[in-house]
Amino acid sequence: MPEPGGNAHYTEPDPRVTGTIRYAQDVELPEMLYACVVRSPYAHARVLRVDTSALPVDVVALTPDDVRSLGLYGCQMKDQQVLAVERALYIGDPVAAVAAASPRAAREAAELIEVDYEELPAVFDAVEAMQPGAPLLHPDLAISENDAAYFGMRPEPQRNVCHHFRIRHGDIEQGFAEAEIIVEETYRTPSAQHVPMEPHACLARWTADGRLEVWTGTQTPFNLRMDLAGIFGLPQEGIRIIAPPMGGAFGSKTFVRYEAIVAGLARKAGRPVKLVLRRDEEWLTLNRHPATIHVKLGAKRDGTLVAKQVTCWANTGAYADCGPGVAQKMGFASPGPYRIPHVWVDSYCVYTNLPSNGAFRGYGATQAVWASERTMDLLAERLGLDPLELRLKNVLVDGDRYCTGEIMHDVHFADCLKAVAGQIGWQRGRRGKGLAVLLKGMQTPSRASIVVEANEDGSYTVHCATAEMGQGAWRAIRMLAAEQLGVPVERVHFPVPDTDIVPYDTRTTSSRSTYMMGRALVEAVRQLKENGELGYGECVNEGGLDPDTGQGIASTHWHQGAAAAEVHVDEETGKLEVVHLHTAIYAGRIVNPPAAQLQNEGSMIMGLGSALFEEITFADGQITNANLSDYNIPAADDLPRITYDLIERPGAEIHGLGETALPPVPAAIGNALFSLGIHVRDLPLTPERVLEASERRSVHSAASV
């Protein structure tokens, strides 16, 4: 039988243009059944009884009793069961699932399952969830053995905290004592949806010898395999993950999503089972962390920064997922790319009764940069300084020490800032214009490995776990291999990753793959040239932070960029129009120029959505805009003038660039508004918020006359 998925070779014409590309949702097996999930209508409730007696005989149901004995999972905290067994923790938490002969039969069957609940008190805000007396989501908490739990986790389950990350650098009290001016503000950023065009899709089957095979749109095949092994009590080699190309992911297709549910159904049915999510279910699966961030920044009168204290509350929802990692990166991005002698950061990852929040393009930096860079403009205004000059005075340069204690190399923040300021016409006048700069870490530590094999027909095959979600990593790796092997790119094949074949890779996240795999490839090709048959290479980046002090190596490779925006505001209606958006990012050496441009343009456009209108709205934990009519994403006719620089340097190494331009965009637009005296603390910058802030300013000016 031909294996589904197939080989996605880039023959001419491109399968994306002919429509012949096969995504995870297109994989099919004979005799397969279709799944549908039954979800909790309560934000927090005890699950008393799941009654499947009304189901037709040919429908297979998975209920809490079927999964009670299976292992707990979670990529960083072991806090989740395959279904909500004792308590459902958010509106949408899966409590049962069915498999039937068609998607329609499955949907109809799901409605026949009756569940009795006892409603419990719920909490939705991260700051409230940490208060005494708040409902506790996970009173007993264990840290995951998955290698995605790669840093020291500091859970405090008695106040709903699954991780408390700290930076302790210098002497914060002394720092504020030395400060001649202190600004302080609290910011909020909302939850957002990734909206991959292709929904989550997965298919599982059990082989006659008891192996589990899963075809799934995933960025993390090996992390997924580890958690599935724990759930089903199998050795990792007993599980095979095949990862076809995805119709977009942006962080959403990571770790265990529905693979355990379809595997459970498939085992019970004795047949393959496939699930493709309905669009509204995407909002019940994984979103971006809403965050509250308090910033206190102290400086000398000449603008020299001396002290910064930041507290982040990252709302991770019902299950931690990789929220501890997001809170950590939010924490170490929040001081910003500046020389500050005294830094104190507390970043909390907090459980609430919302759907889980996890990896989202930007990974905590979007929230951190909004707070950090808006505060820089508050300080500039108080000091009467040009916001660009204030930044250039303090920005990190080569050889500086960051607040994590690491020495910074290959630093280009000032170049990025100067580039965006020039393109936005900063010197011609700053009214209606704003700037922001970003530093963002890459997954550290991590390991990438790759095998290159010579085929009999003179072509080569690359075996590599890197996932393709549109970012162009497969093409970039093929181009690098072709360049080193001295053959046209068409002679290098990149089969769909299959964990039975490809060597280990940490995961396809944090804009690391072209950089890390590119380095691993050099050794693999060298070996292959020696023996003529096969080469193996790996790349390891080592580092990590002390979780209690935040000291160490946060990242071996810093993503660096800046954004500038020019805006017009209609002060009668609050309507904000972005006229021009420019970003400059440090790109090192670019492998595939059109793909690099597309990644940067896509980051900017996603940043524009986050700045202007993307926000998941809730009413008592119930999402009120879980569809693309009420939740808007940018369309072609929403765009301002968009320009950018990808800054290359002769002799530089490859640099990740898949998400660098997103985080500074909202902050640059917010600062452009602030240049007009309109101070908005919370994203997105809706007409209502702009109008309210604009009226607040008018009252202040009237009062001060």
Binding site: E12, P13, D14, P15, R16, V17, T18, G19, T20, I21, R22, Y23, Q25, D26, R104, H194, V195, P196, M197, E198, P199, P245, M246, G247, G248, F250, R278, R279, M469, G470, Q471, G472, P594, A595, Q597, L598, Q599, E601, G602, S603, M604, I605, M606, N627, L628, S629, I633, P634, A635, A636, D637, L639, I642
Partner: protein, 168 residues
């Protein structure tokens, strides 16, 4: 509900398929006819990932009841063959990332250029208002539309006859 038989022309070939009366054309194209270029994202007729041409006009197949396609001409990207000028333009410009929205974009631009062979940028952007791309390829998609217009104009130009002077 009893399934019914529906007849229409798909990519130039007459087809007869079984469908439930309340089924959308998208489900029928995927399940009964095996087409994978029509894809569901929003399910509301907003995003354009399920676009097909119905008698030459772009429609959202996720909200068109299958029986309403009776007697119509339906075109999907599979019917363009792979070397249509709009497809070639998308390749040249590399106007895609994940490629999920690409077939819908190509069909929408094909229909636009048939009605308006030389659209300005604003017209293109407006025409694409119902086709979402979460990867954010819009700048290059607009360029691809412009390039496709140029390729189609070249095709329309009368071919030089045997006696024509060589172009210098």
């Amino acid at each position: 509900m009893a399934a019914m038989e529906i007849h229409f022309t798909l990519n130039g070939q007459p087809v007869a398929v079984q469908a439930e009366p309340d089924e959308m054309l998208l489900e029928v194209l995927r399940r009964e006819l095996g087409l994978r270029s029509v894809r569901e994202t929003c399910g509301l007729g907003i995003c354009g990932a399920c676009t097909a041409l119905l008698n030459g006009q772009p429609i959202s197949t996720c909200i068109l009841l299958a029986p309403l396609a009776e007697g119509c001409e339906i075109t999907t990207v599979e019917g363009l063959g792979g070397h249509h000028p709009v497809q070639r333009a998308f390749e040249e410009v590399q106007a895609f990332q994940c490629g999920y929205c690409t077939p819908g974009m190509i069909l929408t631009i094909k229909a636009l250029l048939e009605e308006e062979p030389e659209p300005d940028e604003e017209t293109i952007r407006r025409a694409l208002g119902g086709n979402l791309c979460r990867c954010g390829c819009y700048l290059k998609i607009v360029q691809a539309a412009q390039r496709a217009a140029a390729l189609l104009a070249e095709e329309r130009r009368p071919q030089p006859g045997p006696g024509a002077a060589p172009v210098s």
